[in-house]
Homo-oligomer: 336 residues x 2
């Protein structure tokens, strides 16, 4: 007998399976003698209630779902690892999912999470208020959004990064190095709130920080062709420095620049969002506007646990974590 079931207890105690089930759930009408017999038999046989069965009765499963767009993106891998670490420290098991930036897969995972009756979820959402997100909100599952905000989901607390402090500092530093025509690589096809916020913040900040400067905004998607074409357009516009809103774009563009023999930090300066490990390992090292992924992960977990404890009726808290600039070798004096 590998595992004791209520069937084993019923057989041993000479009562029906239904009686065992009801007694162990403190339900039904049975004599105290029968109740005692069943409880003692369960204890003697070493019966352990199935975790899921227990979860259906009690509010807490000590399990939290975590959904991110893409684990191949080091930024999300770092954030997930920091959240999982923090959750484990607090006694929670983490079920991670990733959806490859596709809303249908995001919603499929969210529906599956609801079936598992987890205690709560931390989601880096894609796009708007999708069916899956609406379902979670309707079911009043404790929920926190991290990294990206969903317009219209006013009752969900969120931790997002404020792109402005790091971006303004980057423009100040580039201006000091003599850069006047500065390119910005957007990625609107991603449908990411925070990536789009960076583009808005750039357009506002360039006028403020470099009054004599020009901002050239181009857009790309996740194909090499699109990134190559965006780079071409920036080159033709005469930019001497480039800021990428989305780190996978920067990684491909660095490769494209190297391939074409364009010296990074010399012929062109480059700053990317996301402080991922690879950027510190390259030569020259890549300047970044860091969102402090670890800090955001820790804050997200703290907010979720507060939400689980206080219920979803409590007011939604929001946190803006300021970005920080790390200047490195990929930025140099502007070449005329």
């Amino acid at each position: 007998m590998a595992f004791v079931t209520i069937r084993d207890i019923a057989q041993e105690a000479g009562v029906s399976v239904t009686a065992v089930s009801q007694i162990l759930h403190d339900k039904g009408r049975f004599s105290e003698q029968t109740r005692e017999l069943v409880r003692q038999t369960a204890e003697r046989l070493g019966y352990v209630p199935d975790q899921r069965a227990r979860a259906m009765r009690s509010a807490s499963t000590q399990t939290v779902g975590l959904l991110v767009p893409d684990l191949r993106n080091q930024y999300f891998a770092d954030m997930v690892s920091s959240m999982e670490e923090e959750l484990y420290r607090r006694g929670f098991t983490t079920l991670i999912g990733s959806y490859g930036e596709r809303v249908d897969r995001q919603d499929a995972f969210l529906r599956s999470l609801l079936g598992q009756r987890i205690d709560g979820a931390i989601v880096v959402p894609q796009g708007g208020l999708s069916q899956g997100l609406q379902l979670l909100i309707e079911r009043k599952l404790p929920l926190v959004f991290v990294d990206r905000l969903v317009p219209g989901a006013d009752n969900v607390p969120f931790v997002v990064s404020d792109p402005r402090p790091g971006l303004e500092e980057a423009l100040d530093q580039l201006a000091k190095l003599g850069h006047r025509v500065i390119g910005f690589v957007a990625h609107s096809a991603l449908g990411s709130f925070s990536v789009n916020e960076r583009a808005k913040a750039f357009s506002a900040a360039i006028r403020e920080r470099i009054p004599s400067g020009t901002g050239v905004v181009v857009d790309c998607n996740s194909t090499v062709e699109s990134r190559s074409s965006a780079l071409e357009r920036l080159h033709n516009a005469g930019v001497t420095a480039i800021i990428c809103a989305y780190s996978p774009d920067a990684i491909t563009m660095l490769g494209l620049l190297q391939e074409r023999g364009i010296a990074i930090g010399d012929a062109v300066s480059l700053v990317s969002f996301d402080d991922i490990a690879a950027f510190r390992l390259m030569i020259p090292q890549v300047s970044v506007i860091s969102q402090q992924a670890d800090e955001m992960g820790r804050l997200g977990v703290e907010m979720l646990i507060r939400r689980i404890a206080s219920g979803t009726e409590a007011a939604a808290h929001t946190h803006y974590v300021p970005t920080i600039l790390h200047m490195r070798g990929s930025c140099g004096i502007a070449v005329a």
Copy 2:
């Protein structure tokens, strides 16, 4: 009424909750009239059975657990993404966990997975036959090991990488470039079967492939101090080329070499296991012995699905995926 429960159906149909539950499960003794009334009421109210409740009755939840040591390690992030992609294509939801190379966390996640009654699991295991792994095997959960093998778990099919083809090719190429004293960085503290196999394969292959050569094997752990000390010992032994068994060690060592002004691909040649994106982005690009993570992920999923279909009593299949060498700029002619 956000979600219809069996309680709602009972109220609406004027029968007991137990009756509704039994009728919807095709159990109990009721008149065909009562059965029909309950079924029609359930349908009319739009009752959707709870996924977990359904999972307790039926064998399949279309959910698979995936456990890897570390998502910050790009190699595992790539493998997990390829497995998740393949599982989604086949209609499965994936619950991912990572355990930071710690056996206690691995076992905590495995216990939690059992509570969720998933259809099966793919695990990159740490160390030996831990309690958590034994529990999974005892419960006859369809299980596949990927990347690492667990001695003693003979009934579990596995996909592991064969380190020899890529390693032998690397030694042949280094010999052609004039290297005779070749260092190997092991990482025994990891307790990883496959990383340890690489060290064994190196010691065997160096005698075979470079009869006049010397192999210098050093060991390190995951601290910068230990990696720095390992590099020192290799330098003192006069090696001109280094092969790292574990890519995070290589990444730190590349940084250490750059910091000390030692030209990679010139003063020292370096080859690492794991074909991670960062290695292709560095200058010079880093030569790698690739385990073909995508291919291993796809094979693992295929084997698990076969296992789920055929039951765990079927014979365990094993797959060795050959490693492949990708020679890049980090290897150059040996400097005397």
